[in-house]
Symmetry: C2
Subunit: 662 residues, 2 copies
């Protein structure tokens, strides 16, 4: 059929007849408000339908399923075998060798005593092994959450002059972070972490990596008086202000220590090379996994042998032996710092949750099993709540360690248990060995760990695909570097949401044309072969209609009509039908409904008719309810497809014209 | 064609052949990033294309058009005639008779000296007449903005103990409100007021009307000691706490004054009856328009005749004669109250802008002319900035007065000039006459004016159409009544935005089926006659895909696939194609793009193939850019319509099967 060619009607019309059989647009089957509310709530909070497996099971089975649902260990535990355990033991020992030096380092990053980092690698992995559903997640402290916790708490309390209060606040923050995480999971509000878009995260992580690395300049250069601020500017000025006092870079300045720099440089190169080797050949994962422990052992031996602590190399110092002491009596639920603890808990909670969930999902997708986001949140949250009362600070599933765990062949959460036991042994017997570990090596370990957070290829990919996402990324990056970690993050999230709102405020309307020889209608600007049909203005509205865009849509459609008329003027064929294709209008509200009445009036004033095509269920229902006169539901201005609308209306005009002639 | 019936292929196939001619999905014509940015910016900020008329005009003409654009009076002024003037003079005098008593009343509502209300009805209408583009807007102080201004400023400064500072803050607030309004217009950010949805406004206005009326209980009951708070609870307790001291309602209590109550009751009934008459018969618009002035004159005469001021009826008192004194020296751009002024300016600015723009648009639609939202904002903003330096407080186009103006036959902004001159005459010569006007009549005038803001039919309509909008409305209403005007408003706006975000987070996916005998595919749940096609899972995604919903969509589509497979199990026909209909996906971002890769992998693991149908221009482009391998752009998994996809893929399978058999 070619609507644009009127001579066509003379041809044999098998096809046209079939299409001319018009299909009625029917209202959707009636559903009660309660039913609709139930569906909406279910889709919003239970999109994965977690209770599906319970359906139609006997009561006994339901109980078993329920306990398996709450404690995933009951699900995989009974099938656990010796061969699986062999794999897990290798993986567990590998991640323990990584977890011990990283634990000490990250605790220092959070301005906490190094031993808290080891405590945090002991209890939380055990809790997660019982509650968590990921088989690859390696649990422990992570760099970004440590950084944020340390920097936010330091705004009000000094970890140097008041270490006990600082520790109390750290545990309280961990408790609130866990409470927040568990509540998000329990209330099934897990989708909140989706608002941290990929672009935001890439920018944020890169910025945080730089901030973390800059902080390590203190250890790496052996500076004793260092700024307590986090931003790029104060840190750099703190670093270079010191050198200005003396000439030359490697001179024996009061502040910089050449021994420290030399040692730091060597170990950093070693760690980065090890990392590079493992990245090039994933089978050599143990090279990068073992490198931190090797560095710690080597450097400790060096310090011990040369008594380097007397030559300007600062060391960790004496560490207490023994397992985690209880810390529930240190949680502070009152006092002037409560607000700070809650705020820090929120920020670190959401950040570490995002990392944990993303890691879990990534590896679950690789191994083709499923991780329930909300359940994971509860597991991570409970793990932190338990942690906060056993001298642990905030933990989650770490990206780098989980990757090592996966590469080392971990089969289940047992690898976490093995790691935990190794850490326990360390805590009980090996702590004195760390006394001479130099801080510079811990700094080098942190830097080599966070370098991986800077993902330049992903940034390039974002630039290629979506320029606005790239801006969001830059915003997160520079916000973190120049303002603060939490402000950079909120700026980027704000911008992402603003973009969505802007998209909603300015939805697309597209003029459709007919692809000749078919009854397909597509965007005139996209499909160059498509043609306008004289007398018809066919517009497709490509967004839900609501208060934020109804005014715009009204004006924009009027502008389409005016532009059409201006063009018309030249062609001498007048506008007869304004066809609105509603296939993409998935929802509408009261403001949206009201523009149709206005549009109808305006279009009729111009001597044309408003025709709706394919309104979807909900939209149709609301239009019907608002439309007492039944104007929109008249069969002659409501069609199921554009093709049928155009064919029917063209036929009507022709029959009117021919009747008129007769 | 019936895809579900394989025997169909035996029939003569004229139609099938036509459909089988597959139309290629082409990438959209290339546009540079700059070009796209330009289009987006234009659609966002210049959706009405205001500079269209300048195109292709000679320079001289352009200058004339530009000055007409800035000063609309130059556009209609030259064509102004005597007959138009006759209409305008009647309308102008009518609205003046309304503006004078309302001006005095609203100034009292804002805790300002009554004369400021008259000042504000003199200068701003003149400014608007030059700059504004609406022909029906009657400019002056309005109830809600007066209430908000008064109540917000009173939180920090008492209008009784520090009247000069209060006045200074009121002018400063007006200046900031004007600056904010003009900037919104100048920066073309007018769409911000669209975020006050219809539901929010209806709830908010009703709540504000009740708050305003409650405040009038002070004048209507003749209470001398009244609460300074705005909420329902403190006002009512303030009213009834007074009566408890004495017995009976109409006893000569210390606080309530029966003379005042009697007078207030009579005039309130008179005003409400007048309003009712005018509403029933719009031709008698002058009844309600004149009633307030009549009430003022009558009551003033009564007080004067009976010396009622000595019998417990409070009167306005002596008013200064003369025109607006300059007030630019009263603007306070420093000091501790600057933050308050800016905040109050923002809230009152946006509220009065919303009223003014809505009024302008309503009457423009009635008379079929156009009002440029952003230009109007600049006009209203400049009017307030000028007003703030000529002793005027915040003004805008008022609903009730503009309706009277329209009914009285106003033809242009000249009616505002006539009103302004009438007010000027009043200011110069008639002020002493108002000395004996009783406050109770002003209270009655305010109550009768704001009663119209409670729109119960509209509330019912909202309940009928959209339950969530109704909740937003209730939220605004109760928030205003029980918490505060600004909090109620922000709660309702927050909820509306939350709803939109929730809709985005949980977009609909719908399973499509074939309507037998056609190649139309529609929602299986909506169109009961539509049928599934064996081996095909056809899903339509009905929203833009972005970071906020990509995880959900991925999981939801997987659930669809699993459900299909569970059903399959019974039917023994396996899933071969997952067809995603993308017609409604108007935009996509980097997170959105990445789920397609994941989906493709998952679907292929299940032994099926992922097919995309009709991706729109932008989406297609981004998919193409992210897809180095060209997986999505292969012609065998990209189709223009569902019909073509199903027909082609079915044919492919059959040919494969038959080849296999041979």
């Amino acid at each position: 059929m070619e609507y644009s060619n009127s001579s066509n009607t003379e041809q044999p019309q098998t096809c046209l007849e079939i299409t001319m059989e018009v299909h009625r647009v029917v209202p959707p089957p009636h559903k009660s408000t309660i039913h609709k509310l139930k569906t909406t709530l279910k889709e919003t909070f239970f999109p994965d339908d977690p209770l599906r497996q319970f359906k139609g099971q006997p009561t006994g089975k339901k109980w078993i399923l329920a306990s398996q649902y709450i404690f995933p260990i009951l699900q995989w535990g009974p099938h656990y075998s010796l061969s699986l355990f062999k794999s897990d033991i290798v993986a567990g020992l590998t991640i323990a060798s990584l977890a011990i030096p990283q634990g000490i380092s990250y605790a220092k990053l959070a301005n906490l005593p190094p031993i808290v980092g080891l405590y945090s690698s002991f209890v939380p992995p055990l809790v997660y092994a019982v509650l968590g559903s990921s088989r690859d997640l390696a649990v422990g402290p992570v760099s970004i959450a440590s950084l944020i916790l340390g920097s936010m708490l330091r705004q009000e309390v000094s970890p140097v002059s008041d270490p006990v209060l600082f520790l109390q606040l750290a545990f309280t923050t961990t408790f609130f972070a866990g409470l927040f995480q568990a509540s998000l999971g329990f209330l099934r509000l897990g989708f909140i972490i989706d608002f941290l878009s990929k672009a935001t995260l890439i920018g944020f992580m890169a910025g945080a990596a730089i901030i973390v690395s800059l902080q390590q300049l203190k250890s790496l250069l052996g500076i004793t008086h260092f700024t307590t601020k986090m931003g790029l500017v104060p840190v750099l000025s703190s670093v270079f202000h010191n050198t200005k006092e003396v000439n030359g870079w490697f001179s024996s300045s009061l502040q910089w220590s050449w021994q420290t720099i030399l040692m730091g440089f060597c170990f950093l190169v070693f760690l980065l090379v090890a990392r590079h080797v493992s990245m090039k050949r994933p089978k050599l994962f143990w090279v990068s996994a073992g490198a931190p422990l090797v560095s710690v052992i080597l450097s400790t031996l060096l310090v011990f042998a040369f008594k380097a602590q007397h030559h300007g190399i600062s060391i960790i110092g004496k560490l207490q032996e023994g397992l985690n002491p209880p810390s529930w009596n240190m949680l502070q639920f009152r006092g002037s710092h409560l607000g700070l603890s809650i705020k820090t808990g929120l920020v670190t909670g959401i950040i570490s949750l995002t990392e944990g969930i993303a890691v879990g999902r990534t590896f679950a997708a690789l191994k083709n099993y499923k991780v329930d986001g909300n359940k994971e949140m509860m597991a991570i949250g409970l793990m932190n709540m338990v942690g906060s009362s056993t001298s642990c600070y905030i933990t989650t599933g770490a990206f780098s360690r989980s990757a090592v765990n996966h590469n080392a062949g971990a089969k289940s959460a047992v690898s976490n248990i093995v790691m935990s036991i190794t850490v326990m042994v360390t805590l009980l017997f090996l702590m004195p060995l760390f006394q001479y570990t130099p801080n510079v090596v811990l700094g080098a370990i942190i830097v080599s760990a966070v370098v991986g957070l800077i993902d330049i290829p992903a940034a390039c990919q974002i630039w290629k695909i979506d320029k606005f996402d790239f801006i969001v990324m830059l915003c997160a990056f520079f916000g973190v570097i120049f303002i603060s970690v939490q402000d950079g993050l909120s700026m980027a999230v704000g911008m992402s949401i603003f973009k969505i709102l802007l998209q909603i405020t300015r939805p697309k309307t597209v003029m459709l044309g007919n692809i000749p020889g078919t009854d397909i209608f597509r965007d005139l600007h996209h499909y160059k072969e498509s043609m306008k049909i004289p007398g018809f203005l066919i517009l497709s509205i490509e967004a839900p209609i609501n208060f934020a865009n109804s005014t715009y849509l009204n004006e924009r459609i009027l502008r389409w009509i005016e532009e059409y008329e201006a063009e018309d003027h030249k062609k001498q064929s007048s506008l007869q039908f304004v066809v609105l294709v509603m296939s993409a209008v998935s929802a509408i509200d009261t403001s949206g409904v009201s523009i149709f009445k206005e549009l109808k009036k305006t279009v009729e004033k111009k001597g044309a008719e408003l025709v709706l095509v394919n309104p979807l269920g909900e939209v149709m229902e609301k239009l019907q309810k608002s439309d007492e006169a039944g104007d929109f539901m008249r069969p002659d201005c409501l069609f199921l497809t554009v093709g049928e609308a155009v064919a029917t209306l063209t036929a009507t005009i022709k029959s009117q014209v021919s009747n008129h002639v007769i």
